[in-house]
């Protein structure tokens, strides 16, 4: 955090106010460096156009990890059921197209976000009264129940075979879904960038500060009159909505989904990605998702078991050596470097 220049002796309110302003701007304003990851991502369809298909899957996982980071990193709520909302979003977008013939992508994505957000609001209001193992198990139970329902109602969801018949009309009526996945990549990139900007703004808004306070000390937040459950439920709703948008993106980009989007493995994978990258910074979610997906893909090509062994070792290493994640290391260096220059 940037320390403004030392205050003059006389504590006149004007100087104090300006110093506080400088502090807040230094902490919260978007810096040019924030654009780097998105510029890199924008280069992919032009420099590495063959990687667009895989890139789309990474972007979807980045968005999914961002949604978890908002509730876990910022509000400090540990859950293992984020796949419930990712899956709900995926099935909403999928069923709209496959069963109701509503193939327009953007409205489909909004619907996916809204349905997941609604589910987040309802379940949040009930679940967020709990903590630790109880909350963990409740979130696991809900996503598992949804998984079972998807199998039981296979007449609707297609069950294990997956939801067939999704055919998304060209993006904005113009861009066709090409084989190489360039359109789906750019679509995923724009959506995840918008969601990132929205989350970034919210995390620096007064609401974002309130979440930070709740994570630090719930008792104090109650003592200053903050409706803690209400704020957490709102955060959970936003997080669920963005996870739903991620799920909707998967359904539209691949025009195919299976019950896997609701499974415990998916929740565990996105949690692994986030903690690998580092929680509470949004960038951790990006780094974690990219590293996990690349490791899983490239190691799997060497030999089937390698990827599980590789990710497992990486996880143990990160937790033991750099607990606030790979990006945490970068952050610390950046700050130490900054302080060194100070």
């Amino acid at each position: 955090m940037a320390d403004p220049d030392p205050l003059e002796a006389a504590a006149d309110p004007e100087a104090l106010g300006r110093a506080a302003q400088a502090f807040v701007r230094a902490r919260d304003d978007l810096r040019p460096a924030d654009a780097i990851p998105w510029l890199l991502a924008l280069a992919v369809p032009f420099l590495l156009s063959q990687e667009c298909a895989f890139g789309t899957q990474i972007l979807i996982m980045v968005l999914f990890a961002l949604s978890l980071d908002f509730i876990l990193g910022y509000a400090g709520i540990v859950t293992l059921g984020q796949a419930a909302y990712f899956g709900l979003g995926a099935y909403t977008a999928g069923l709209l197209s496959a069963r109701l013939g509503w193939n327009e992508p953007i409205s489909g994505l909004l619907a996916a976000g809204l349905v997941a957000a609604a589910a987040g609001a309802v379940s949040g209001w009930i679940l967020l009264r709990y903590r630790h193992l109880a909350l963990l198990m409740l979130t696991i139970a809900i996503s598992t129940i949804l998984y079972e329902l998807a199998n039981t109602w296979s007449w609707l969801t297609g069950g294990f075979d997956g939801l067939m018949g999704i055919s998304i009309s060209p993006l904005l009526g113009v861009f066709d879904w090409d084989l190489e996945g360039r359109t789906s990549y750019l679509y995923a990139l724009v959506v995840s960038m918008l969601c990132f900007l929205a989350l970034r703004r919210i995390t620096v808004s007064p609401f974002g500060q309130t979440l930070h306070g709740i994570r630090e000390n719930t008792a104090r937040m109650r003592a200053i009159g903050v409706p803690v459950l209400g704020r957490l439920t709102l955060a959970y709703t936003i997080s669920a909505g963005i996870a739903g948008i991620g799920g909707g993106l998967l359904a539209q980009a691949n025009s195919f989904i299976t019950m896997q989007v609701l499974s415990f493995d998916t929740s565990a994978a996105v949690l692994t990605m986030l903690v690998l990258g580092g929680t509470g910074r949004l960038y951790g979610a990006m780094v974690g998702a990219v590293v996990y997906m690349l490791a899983a893909d490239r190691l799997a090509r060497l030999s089937p078991e390698y990827w599980e062994l590789g990710v497992g070792l990486l996880l143990v290493f990160v937790v033991l050596v750099c607990p606030d994640g790979l990006f945490g290391v970068v952050d610390r260096l950046r700050r130490r470097g900054w302080r060194w220059r100070q």
Partner: protein, 404 residues
């Protein structure tokens, strides 16, 4: 490391007879993208299929003349569809493969069918068994089997030949299981029977405790019971529970699909499985010259402890189909010509004579009624009856499942 060098290294690593990866002047190198589960729940099946591909290649390499085939393997992990689709896209776009092969699960095949159609790449199914799959793309050819092809005749045979006046179907509760139920019910009721009950027996993700399901079937005292559980780690617990509940002594005749008597887990079923009748399209104990040669080669190459099973023969024949395409087109792979070359293709497979149906591009093959017997101290499979040249009845009858 550029993608091209990667796959060459990979091919070398896999011990294949590596054609020089430099573009040879005249001979063609056909690149085949293989999408199979090499890790996760079905890793053992995926690895068996890869072994079968390599065995056929090793035995018949010479027939290719100057041309050659390179397998580029990708691990489709869990049956999510999304992974298989992404891998297929990469194989087509990055590795520029000429043929696609594999797809263990129906969701993987469904998701990738679009890519095959868009990219005009022939897609040879090594397992995915939902009957309607070949209708999803004109470039799909199936070398495995369809569920209806086995369960429909089994339903009829149970009523007509095995005297099953009352039948209950117990099935693993996911899409393939529901296909088996629909097919058995259609066949059984076509023959004049009336299905007594259908008991879903737990999902595919986790081996359930079979006691409540078999207990329920036992309490309804049907004449026969027809069971489908996925091949692999589901069958030994099923057999153990069957013996725990003394169902052998209770006079209920046990019928099942070939999955239940799968060769890799046959020995783990225990003595109570003797007398089980299963209907399938291949067993390692099939006593035809082609099969004995195949099993001998398999044991020589991969050791005696694990025999080949129907997954192995499906992959073995899939590689035969690839060889047929490469030889017919002399290595210059054109999708439409390749598919055309397979229409009506006849081949003497270890499982018996097979043909690719020209209209549906699905496999036509013998279906065997088998019995688990005890032969010199070990469980083995005896062929009771053969239903020759069975086409997929689902498409023939325009059954709802195939009307997709």
């Amino acid at each position: 490391m550029s993608i091209i060098r990667y796959s060459c290294l990979l091919a070398a690593g896999l011990g294949l007879a590596v054609a020089v990866c430099l573009p040879a002047a005249r001979a063609e190198t056909v690149k085949v993208g293989v999408v199979l589960p090499l890790s996760g729940g079905a890793a053992d099946v995926g690895q068996t299929e890869v072994r079968a591909l390599k065995l056929y290649y090793k035995q018949h390499k010479a027939e290719l003349g100057d041309n050659d085939i390179v397998l580029i393997e990708r691990d489709s992990k869990e049956p999510s569809g999304a992974t298989a689709m992404t891998l297929t896209r990469e194989l087509v776009v990055q590795d520029k493969v000429d043929l696609l092969l594999g797809y263990q699960f129906s969701p993987d095949a469904i998701a990738s069918a679009k890519v095959a159609t868009q990219a005009k790449k022939p897609m040879i199914l090594v397992n995915a068994q939902s009957s309607y799959l070949t209708t999803l793309s004109p470039y799909i050819v199936r070398l495995s089997t369809t569920i209806w092809q086995i369960s429909y005749p089994a339903g009829r045979y149970a009523y007509e030949k095995l005297g099953c006046k009352s039948l209950i179907v117990g099935y693993s509760d996911f899409a393939p299981g529901r296909d088996v139920l629909a097919a058995v019910k259609a066949g059984y009721e076509k023959a004049g029977g009336n299905l007594m009950d259908a008991v879903p027996m737990g999902g595919p993700a986790q081996v359930p405790d079979y006691t409540p399901f078999l207990q329920r079937i036992a309490n309804e005292h049907p004449k026969c019971m027809f069971v489908f559980t996925p091949a692999g780690n589901f069958n030994p617990p099923l057999a153990r529970t069957y013996s725990d509940l003394r169902m052998k002594q209770s006079g209920i005749r046990f019928l099942g699909t070939g999955d239940v008597s799968d060769d890799t887990t046959l020995q783990q079923l225990g003595d109570n499985a003797v007398g089980w009748i299963t209907v399938g399209h291949y067993t390692a104990d099939l006593d035809t010259p082609a099969n004995q040669q195949f099993v001998a080669a398999w044991r020589k190459e991969y050791g005696n402890d694990v025999p080949p099973d129907f997954f192995a023969v499906q992959a073995y024949d899939a590689m035969a189909a690839v060889f047929h395409i490469v030889k017919t087109l002399n290595g210059h792979i054109d999708a439409d010509k390749a598919i055309a070359s397979l229409r009506g293709w006849r081949h003497d497979s270890p499982r018996g004579p097979i043909m690719i149906d020209p209209e549906t591009r699905d496999i036509v093959q013998n279906i065997y009624v088998q019995e688990i017997v005890k032969r010199d101290g070990k469980l083995a499979i005896k062929i009771l009856d053969t239903i020759p040249a069975v086409k997929d009845p689902c498409k023939a009858l325009k059954a709802p499942a195939c009307a997709k």
